[in-house]
Amino acid sequence: MGDFRKTGKGVIDTQQPVSFTFDGKSYSGFKGDTLASALLANGVHLMGRSFKYHRPRGPVGAGFEEPNALVTVTRGKGRMTPNLRATAIEIYEGMMASSQNRWPGLGFDIGAFNNTFSAFFPAGFYNKTFMWPKSFWDKVYEPFIRNMAGLGPAPTEVDPDVYGAVYGHCDILIIGSGPAGLAAALAAAKKDQRVILVDENVNMGGSLIGAGHVSIDEKSASDWVAKALKDLNKADNVVLMTRTSAIGYYHDNFVALAERLTDYIPEAQIGKTREKLHRIRAGKVILAQGAIERPLVFNGNDKPGVMLTSAAQTFLNKYGVAVGKEVAVFTAHDSAYSAAFELADSNVRIAAIIDAREGVSAELISAAEGRGIDVHIGSVISKTGGKKRVRSVEVYEPVHNTQKTIACDALLMSGGWTPSLHLWSQSKGSIKWDEAKGVYLPDLANENCVCIGSCNGDFGIKAALDAGSKAGGGRKVYKTDEPVFGSGQVFDHLPNYIKPSKTKAFVDFQNDVTDKDIKLAVREGFKSIEHVKRYTTNGMATDQGKLSNLNALEIAAKALGKQAPQVGLTTFRPPYTPTTFGTFCGYRTDDLFEVTRKTAIDPWAEAQGAVFEPVGIWRRAWYFPKAGEDMHAAVARECKATRDSLGIFDASTLGKIEVVGPDAAKFMNIMYTNPWSKLGVGACRYGLMLGENGYIYDDGVVGRIAEDRFHVTTTTGGAPRVYRHMEDYLQTEFPELDVWLTSTTEQWSVIALNGPNARKLIEPFVEGIDLSPEAFPHMNVREGKICGVPTRLFRVSFSGELGFEINVPSHYGRAVWETLFAAGEQFDITPYGTETMHVLRAEKGFIIIGQDTDGTVTPQDAGMSWIVSKKKKDFVGKRSLQRSDLVAEGRKQLIGLLTDDPKTVLEEGAHIVADPDQSIPMDMLGHVTSSYWSESLGKSIAMALVKDGFNRMGDDLYIPMEGGVTHKAKVVKPVFYDPKGERLNVV
């Protein structure tokens, strides 16, 4: 251990120390540190264990691309976030972080036996091993895999934090605030357009942060960044968003941004929005996401202390942390030299530069030698020493076949640069292979989008700045003083004298995929890179292969004997970086998860202790239990009270559509099977609607309010699709009809009164309507007033009793209900819910669409041929009803069932057979669609769809249940109660 902090560097505030714990041990860092930089400043490199082999790992990167240093941060009950990258999270006072994927401790991990036996865990090990016998899956393989697999533990408690979501719009969205993004924003800010600049980091500036050796337009890089940000902050057309990751790029420049709002605050209060999803629609998108350095694939490249050269540079410049005291550098690219020099100039000893290339520029070598750094040209690292931290490297020079061991406490690697094309590819922009640079670059755009700077292959600060200015609509040419970026060489293989079976060179650090795994996959016949990816799991970890994809491609291409572009790249998918579920949910959790539609009368039902059920997205009162009653008792009581005296029911959810216009009746004739032209004003008729396929689509009572006006009702759940269906036919097939549709579902509250005392109850409250049976017969509608508010009063019945459906303006619905309910005391008025409604209608054999029909039932099947007009030339579904299949014998038909034992209530959905003794699988004739205990009849009743049901009247059928019980039932007509309908006429 020791102090690795370099003062006077970076964005950290050394005046503000911050203490935190990692695996229970206390450490101190500074405000501005990431967890990784603070731990590295304390000399801690070991931050996690790998996924498959549980190998000790430290950070490889310094930002969001990090594959290794995954930690869990806990801040109280339910507030535990696993799989956070230590390199991307800010420390705060009291932060509690812990390592993952190890047991019992990070230093000693039992799972590491996988490492010892890693010869037995090659690519595809899981696929190959856990195949047989099948019964082993549940009991042996799956628990084993579940124990061994997985990264951090999933939280088990409800997340108490809140998340948000908003839409946003801009003319220019710039993603990434390095030199390219900042220059683009500066140029765009000068035009009259809305600009959003986002960066996933805390500070804007990207690679310019702490780049003290670089000057831009005669200013130091940090002064230039400060001035740029000052100007942008002043511009009121520019929005700057930090701690914000662009996670997904969708159609028509719709980009998802995840903004982290509280994770860095010591006392992040519950209730304050933790993260927010910004759904941005941009006119133009400028991607300035930079490039990520490529690791080198060599034996022992995964030890803690081995990291990307650029990461070491970032830790030094941004956080003032030296990653070691004696640092070796292994490179195949010129850019590593300037990083090494920066470290050397900050008094970090560079143990050696090992360059895999034969040809390196003389200037670089002499600059190194000028700093007293040994450079080994044409050399590689053949192995690394140390267990939980790299302690030495063995330098191998193939030409002379010599090895030399050099002591070090950190090893930097640089295999060149990979432009970040993730969002570009998500936008469906095409990519092309650049042979000279050995990288994929953006090619043709699919959206109004450009890539600039190093993600476009324009490496170097000046190149990025100039490209930025141009993309932002400017023409500025910047002057910089910066080290030459140089070039590099791509190696698909680094030589080693050690036998391959004794080496372990990692490609994907998080998923523990080695070069041997990829070669094995190719040997076993996988030719597509997508298959190689899935077989080896390369690039499938939470970092999505940000570091590994290109190396895997090179190795696979070489093994296949092809060029990289012939093999192709795997698909980039959102999210770009791991994102919390909370961010995706936004506000839509708990009460706001889904809309729950409630009627005006719902609060009354709730106060009465009603039990509710969802119907579509409505919630409806299901039944009203009194103290001590279960559902069966409550429903039996509600049914009896309704038939004996008076029940009151909230039918407000019924869909209502007002069909109005000179051609209203003509339109109704098209949409429903039965005729409407002769229906008198003030009269009602039950209507049946079919789909064009001839199957029952919806039903409901329709009242003719005026010659040109129908008040149509639909089923509760069917209202939206019936409206859509009607609009579709009206607008696209019958546009010549002068008729219009208006949804009035919520204009009206509907209070259904059923029972012999229904008329008596409403008489004193109704004005302007003669309620006498002669003046107001069954199936009629009148307009007038009730309780002083306007009403459309329907005399209809879905129970078989004398019934009224009182439509009143919904804002008065509850008041009218309460008035009637109070007055109903004299009749023992009983509120009932949907269950009693269902029982009452089933006793009368009325169907429920979607329960007794399932989208394959014709009117004939339902025993409703009477409602299908023979005279009308056309209505929706007419031609299909004549299809041979729909008139064939052997269709399932709706019948009634009475169980042998009247106390047995059949299970809805139960299958029906003719012979219960046949062998399994039995020949099933159909199923029970509705089944209830009928208190009024003192026995159970059921409806069923049964093959050839109409020809089976009087037959016994059987309903075999699980557990060997078989019920016997007789086929009857599905009208159980008051078949003559006399009770409608109670005076």
Partner: protein
């Protein structure tokens, strides 16, 4: 009408929405009509009703106590003060025999809120995906759209003020989303 017949609009505005950057109010009882008129009769019907029926979708005409919005090619949504315009429905009904048109009373179908304040667009954009810059959504524009899962009618009353209506049963959801957003920022 007896005094115990209470007018109830399904939702109340929570205190947190009544102050701050955006002030939300619940609109009281209104006369609301859905008017449909065949193109040829538009001007005549407008004249007979004493109102203007804007010809272009999204346009509104507002005068004392009444707002008329063109929502579709032959569709107008009318919101009027109850005292002044409670008879408009019957007036339109009488025209039905003379012109090719339809009128439907939807006064009680909707619940409306008005939002006013400098950050009003942000609250609307919590659930509404439309661009609310003045260039894209000028003062006076009115359209059906969505507020997350709730279909709404959105009307810009001024640079920093919107009216938002939804069907009655969606009102708690609509107001709930606004509340969640403001709460998450205020804590």
């Amino acid at each position: 009408m007896s005094s115990d017949i209470v007018f109830d609009q399904a939702v109340e505005i929570p205190d947190i929405l009544k102050s701050g950057d955006v002030v939300t109010t619940l609109v009281g009882e209104r006369t609301r009509l859905s008017l449909r008129v065949k193109a040829a009769d538009r001007i005549a019907v407008a004249k007979a009703l004493g109102i203007t029926l804007p010809a272009k979708i999204g346009k509104t005409n507002t005068k004392a106590g009444i707002m008329i919005a063109c929502l579709g090619p032959d569709e107008w949504f009318i919101v009027g003060e109850k005292a002044k315009y409670s008879n408009l429905y019957n007036k339109a009904l009488k025209l039905s025999s003379k012109y090719v048109m339809s009128v439907t009373d939807v006064s009680f179908r909707n619940v409306a809120v008005e939002l006013t304040g400098p950050k009003v667009a942000e609250i609307v954009n919590v659930g509404c995906p439309l661009d609310l810059s003045l260039a894209a959504f000028p003062v006076g524009k009115c359209t059906r759209t969505v507020y997350e899962a709730a279909p709404i009618i959105l009307h810009r009353l001024s640079e920093d003020s919107f009216a938002m209506e939804c069907w009655r049963s969606y009102a708690p959801y609509m107001v709930g989303l606004m509340t969640a957003h403001v709460q998450g920022q205020r804590v």
